[in-house]
Symmetry: C2
Subunit: 457 residues, 2 copies
């Protein structure tokens, strides 16, 4: 059996950081019935298929589908995969790419990339960036995966219009299907097709459905994340196995035995009773930096809500601000604040036991001599020593800290973490008493943007 991640909340307990900042056994005990009730509610909603994210990894058919499609596109040896998508349509893929492909992946030769294309996730409409991407990725050599559940995301549709125009000029409208893959909601019977659905029909494009009960920020294990992952040669079965392993652990009803619930409880109690308005995710591994960015969305957008769950309190203003950081780098940027500033954070440190490379630090040579403890050591040991120093200092200064330890970073363990954070978010929604699955304010902005663009009505 594959070795999985290990989750610990011990550094956030009162035994480690005191009663003022850490959770006490009795506080956790008091929350048990609340969690048990929330668990029952979430289980009921899961069995009613209200939230699809829980069960995405059981859909083995989708793996065959995305892999067949990826294989089909690979025949023409595309040099670039460009994802057009924003928010939940982009962050999952970016997290997986940074974690699972080598550093500086796009700078590697085709051979070093194992014949796989470079990857560009276009999650903004910055004209300078988009213009440059179009120059760097000639349409003839590129496949585009446009992703929007609603099919109406202004940023993504704008990108698509530009790409289709260029593709038509480069390869002709009839060859669009060799370069463009659409991921969007399924066309409902009798409904007017959205722009992406209409395009699929008109040009016979390969397309994937986003299940109707899966929201953007919970969609990484749907076709949204899986098709790009397949094109890039990730081990999709291992991703699903990681989900399944964590599904098992996160299905336990008991707060004390469920890592997702324990973490949600710490964040909630900290936020409600101990002034912990900020949740920091601090990976000690470059590969996990965009997992922290993915977390930033799911935590902010799910919990940041004006109304409580049943809508009776419209001045609830719930939420905790997620912050992404990076070790050791941020020891020279954020740690001063984390140790000596306001004690308003809970910090999750992600550690990696075995990096995929080992870099020795040479013994003292003829030109330069450092401190003795560096010579003959490794960057791996230095990274671990710094992580331990940070965690110990945080606790020493009564700053609550949780740990997630990776035996190594791979498809299985990354999927475990993402799945756990999804369940944690669902439970946190219940504890914070908000609808974790909507985003009403974002809809507001869309209306205003249209108006600012001069749209009628």
């Amino acid at each position: 059996m594959t070795q999985g991640i290990r989750i610990s909340i011990s550094g956030a307990r009162s035994a480690a950081v005191g009663r003022e900042h850490g959770v006490t056994p009795s506080e956790l005990k008091a929350l048990e019935p609340v969690v048990a009730q929330a668990h029952r509610a979430l289980r009921a909603e899961r069995s009613q298929k209200r939230y699809g994210f829980y069960d995405l990894h059981k859909d083995k058919a989708i793996l065959g589908e995305v892999q067949r499609a990826a294989k089909g596109f690979s025949k023409a040896r595309p040099q670039n995969l460009v994802v057009l998508g924003i928010g939940g349509s982009a962050l999952g893929t970016t997290a997986l790419v940074t974690a699972l492909k080598p550093p500086y992946y796009n700078l590697l030769s085709e051979e070093e990339r194992g014949g796989r294309p470079r990857v560009f996730v276009m999650d903004n409409v910055d004209p300078e960036t988009f213009h440059q991407m179009m120059r760097i990725c000639p349409p003839k050599k590129t496949i585009y995966n446009v992703i929007s559940k609603s099919g109406g995301t202004a940023e993504t549709v704008a990108q698509l219009l530009i790409v289709v125009d260029q593709l038509e000029k480069a390869v002709g409208a009839s060859a669009l299907k060799e370069h463009l893959v659409v991921t969007t909601g399924a066309l409902e019977r009798g409904a007017k097709p959205n722009p992406l659905q209409a395009l699929v029909k008109k040009r016979g494009l390969v397309s994937f459905d986003v299940p109707p009960n899966v929201g953007g920020r919970f969609s990484v294990f749907s076709s949204v994340g899986l098709f790009p992952a397949a094109v890039l040669g990730m081990d999709l079965k291992a991703l699903f196995a990681g989900c399944a392993s964590m599904d098992k652990q996160c299905s336990r009803a008991s707060l004390q035995d469920n890592p997702a619930y324990l973490r949600a409880a710490v964040e909630f109690l900290g936020s409600r009773d101990k002034g912990k308005s900020i949740s920091v995710m601090l990976p000690y591994a470059d590969a996990l930096r965009d997992v922290a960015d993915w977390y930033r969305q799911i935590w902010a957008e799910s919990l940041g809500k004006r109304c409580n769950l049943d809508g009776t309190n419209t001045a609830w203003y719930a939420g905790q601000t997620p912050v992404k950081a990076l070790g050791v780098t941020d020891q020279h940027s954020q740690l001063q604040l984390y140790l000596e500033g306001p004690n308003d954070k809970i910090i999750t440190v992600l550690g990696v036991a075995a990096f995929r490379k080992r870099v020795p630090i040479p013994k003292a040579g003829p030109s330069v001599k450092g401190p003795a403890y560096l010579h003959g050591s490794t960057l791996n040991k230095l990274m671990a020593a710094e992580r331990k120093a940070t965690v110990d200092s945080l606790k020493e200064n009564d700053r609550p800290v949780m740990a997630v330890n990776f035996p190594q970073v791979n498809e299985f363990t990354v999927a475990e973490l993402l799945y756990m954070l999804e369940v944690e978010t669902a439970m946190a929604g219940r504890l914070f008493d908000v609808d974790a699955f909507g985003q009403p304010a974002v809809e507001q902005i869309k209306v205003l943007t249209r108006r600012n663009m001069g749209a009628k009505g």
Copy 2:
């Protein structure tokens, strides 16, 4: 005269977002004598040369020095510039590169780069990343700029030991000087040389001094930032002109006329009186995303302090947590929280009037049709419309927002912003009553790390 940035705090005033969340005229008025006194103290310290950052742009000699050195190294047509440095030795260069070089710069051909090298800022000791960088950048084709004011930063020295070992093998010890440039503190008379100083002497390397009165996070306009900038062909005179322009504006004694002081006052009053524990920097331009990361360091490390300025209160725990965000991308990630979550943030929106590219969105074509308001528009207009929607929504929801508007992003305007934020931080240090120029907790971590590495003593 070059057009500069425009700063506005109007969206953070009570007139825009109400008295509970915005600053009132009388609150600003009441702060005037405090600011006036702090201004006198800072001016005195400036004239005593206690803090060097104020006057770096007056050192015209350094421009000639770094440019001559850069020209010398360019003769061998190096393919890569690798900066070895962490925290203040890295963040300034990264901010300048992202703002002033084209997007995807390292993916461009040598010709497209104007004959300049690719650039890698190594601000971590992640073994996977460092290993890959060493593969991608063959030592023979690379120049390294190792930067550490103390010369003893563990991460940077570890990197240096690896690089020197590889260079010795590739080009020989006697040719180190053709590949390695050192930026460190000047050797004081009678002191034992730090490892970098010793290396300079032993191998006759080109080196630059970090002035003793300039700390890492205030060093971007010293040789720390200027040598990489020169190698990459940035307009150093325009950088200095931007500093000078902002120096003039930020030298005004009156709170109401000084943009840096006004901004510091809003952050301080918000933090002290209105629960604004978080300061978000939200650029609507990919080019400015790492300026936000640079801000994250200067704001966190300068203000996050356990003791007050005169050391009489050792449980002061001051600070405000800086958060970097990115528009429009984070509209689909963070904005829900910013609009509907706890009203605990002051958000600075950076806007750009003229991007360096214009990307038209095509008229409706034969394959795909979007909403009418997109067709025939531009990504530039869409970006502007989204920014306005966000700012208006924030104000509508009583969330204080400040603005910095760039006519365009260039050396002059970026330097203006960085210089203003430096002065703002210095003033904020006075208002928050902390020593903005130390980082005691970071020193603690260094000791612990050495111990974890098995060092004696």
